[in-house]
Amino acid sequence: MPGLEDLYREIILDHYRSPRNRGTLETPPAHMAKGHNPLCGDEIQVYLIVGDGYVEDVKISGQGCSISQSSASMMSAAVKGKTVHEARRMIDAFRSMMSVHERAVAGNRIDHEEPDDYSDVKLGDLDALRGVVKFPVRIKCATLSWNTLTQALEEATA
């Protein structure tokens, strides 16, 4: 359908169809965080085991639309095995990719500071979500799992 190619890329639909790292982990040892998008009812749980500064394992459960589910799936694949520091930079890089519009939608003033440079961060598959920025209401779907991961990371490293 014209206009939607940017949103529903094949790789996004693939992650939606066959989500990676789906399931749960026992808590403890895992840490779990919950996210929720009241607008569309999407819910997500991120299970995380951090050991020795590494994301040892991550699992995702919950339900939601293609964007929130594929974003969560790609995220899990991207951060698994990375150092906590790398995962944090990935979160920042992803948010930055989404952020201009997220701020505009949230209605806050957009500050004209120089943005951080994340060109070193390899987003891989995640780059396919760039098209979401054109659909402001969906940005919250894409960022839901990332906000939830942030929470889980905080708890796991507290």
Partner: protein
């Protein structure tokens, strides 16, 4: 069809809007309806030639504005067949109307452990105020369950009402489209000694309303769902009950005297209208009522039975098992608000794809989370029709659903 929809469509300028060259197919009227030019013009004209404060100042401009404002109240009175003008209270929306009853009547009349009956298809506006009150009063909330086809299951109604102090129930579900048997329900409440509070938010825009025939004690609705402007709603209540209730908000207009150590309330309806009311909005609501009167609410209802019947049959024929329509099939007991699930595709994705061809539907919990849990889904897609929708809109919906199938073909 009962209505000349092609002609009516022309009254709604927004329906001429094209996005990317495609006309607007507006199927979200249960959320908020569009406004006819007649309403828009009545508001502009009022602000351009006649705006003035109401009920306070005595010069001609203000007296005239007051007369127009009170004239709108009379239109509402007649439209819902209230026996007294004083029983018609202007609020900001149906939610404030329900909060006024539940918080004010409730604080004055309910005690720890009292039981109140709701239904599982209520909108949050008729649930959360009860929770707020419950935090103070520890109420026992009882819930009328649903049948498989989304009607109220009244098997145990008398038990549920036994000893209850209030029955708070919608006249039409904003999710399922179900019309509830209001007179039967208010009779049962009265027999049990409970007052009945009717949420008429979805009912009033689509049906002939007669609050006296309904047997309700309180009745709430919003202007913005019935071709009127945002910013105004209505609480109707029986005079004796409104008289006996304490006010909800304090301020100007709702008093007859204020001293350093206390105040006396004004007469109805001012008692429940604290502060400057939605003046221009009342003028707009009056114009919306004139518009609906001209069309005829019986014609609106017949048209929506037709369009609901057409749409349900068409969608089932076209999509078979791929579509699940919630709520009753029988158009005698439902309106043209149609929630559905389609091929396991998430409602948010459906609405996104539909939006590409300018088909506007709502995806979500529709402010009815308890009902979503009973339907066992976090969200539904809802297409809601109004007097300006016809078969072409239903067909556009179906065509757009084909588009969603193409993308999510797994």
């Amino acid at each position: 069809m009962s209505l000349d929809v092609a002609r009516l469509k022309k009254d709604f300028p927004v329906l001429e809007r094209e996005i990317d060259g495609k006309p607007l197919v507006y199927l979200d009227s249960a959320n908020s309806s569009q406004k006819p030019q007649q309403v828009i013009d009545a508001m502009s004209r009022f602000m351009e030639t006649s705006y003035g404060p109401v009920s306070r100042s005595a010069y001609q401009l203000a007296a005239n504005a007051t007369e127009l404002f009170e004239g709108a109240r009379q239109k509402v009175q007649r439209f819902i067949n209230a026996s007294k003008l004083e029983e018609v209270v202007f609020t900001k929306n149906a939610t404030e109307a329900l909060n006024t009853v539940i918080q004010s009547w409730g604080r004055a009349n309910l005690h720890d452990g009292d039981a109140v009956v709701l239904t599982q298809m209520e909108h949050h506006a008729n649930i959360v105020p009860w929770h707020i009150l419950s935090a103070e009063k520890h109420l026992e909330l009882r819930w009328v369950p649903l049948t498989d086809d989304g009607q109220l299951d009244l098997t145990h109604l008398d038990q549920l009402l036994d000893g209850a102090k209030a029955f708070s129930v919608t006249a039409m579900s904003n999710v399922l489209g179900t019309l509830t048997p209001i007179r039967l329900l208010t009779d049962a409440a009265r027999a049990a000694g409970a007052i009945s509070i009717v949420d008429g938010c979805q009912f009033v825009p689509h049906n002939v309303t007669d609050v006296q025939a309904m047997g309700a004690d309180f009745f709430a609705f919003s202007s913005h769902k019935m071709c009127g402007p945002s910013g105004i709603g209505v609480l109707w209540g029986r005079e004796q009950l409104l008289e006996a209730m304490p006010p909800f908000m304090g301020g100007g207009n709702m008093i007859s005297d204020v001293r350093l150590d206390g105040f006396d309330v004004a007469e109805l309806p001012a008692k429940f209208e604290a502060g400057t009311p939605p003046i221009t909005e009342a003028i707009g609501l009056g114009a919306a009522i004139d518009y609906l009167d001209e069309v005829g609410m019986d014609n609106v209802r017949r048209h929506e039975m037709d369009i609901a019947g057409y749409t349900i049959t068409m969608l089932k024929e076209r999509f078979g098992d791929d579509i699940t329509i919630y709520g009753p099939d029988n158009v005698e007991v439902r309106g043209a608000t149609i929630s559905f699930a389609f091929r396991g595709i998430h409602p948010h994705d459906i609405s996104q794809v539909l939006d590409q061809t300018n088909v506007c539907v709502r995806a979500g919990h529709h402010c009815a989370k308890p009902l979503m849990r009973i339907l066992d889904t976090p969200a539904t897609t809802r297409a809601s029709f109004y007097l300006y929708n016809d078969e072409s809109d239903a067909d556009a919906l179906a065509n757009a659903l084909d588009g969603a199938s193409d993308i999510f073909n797994f």
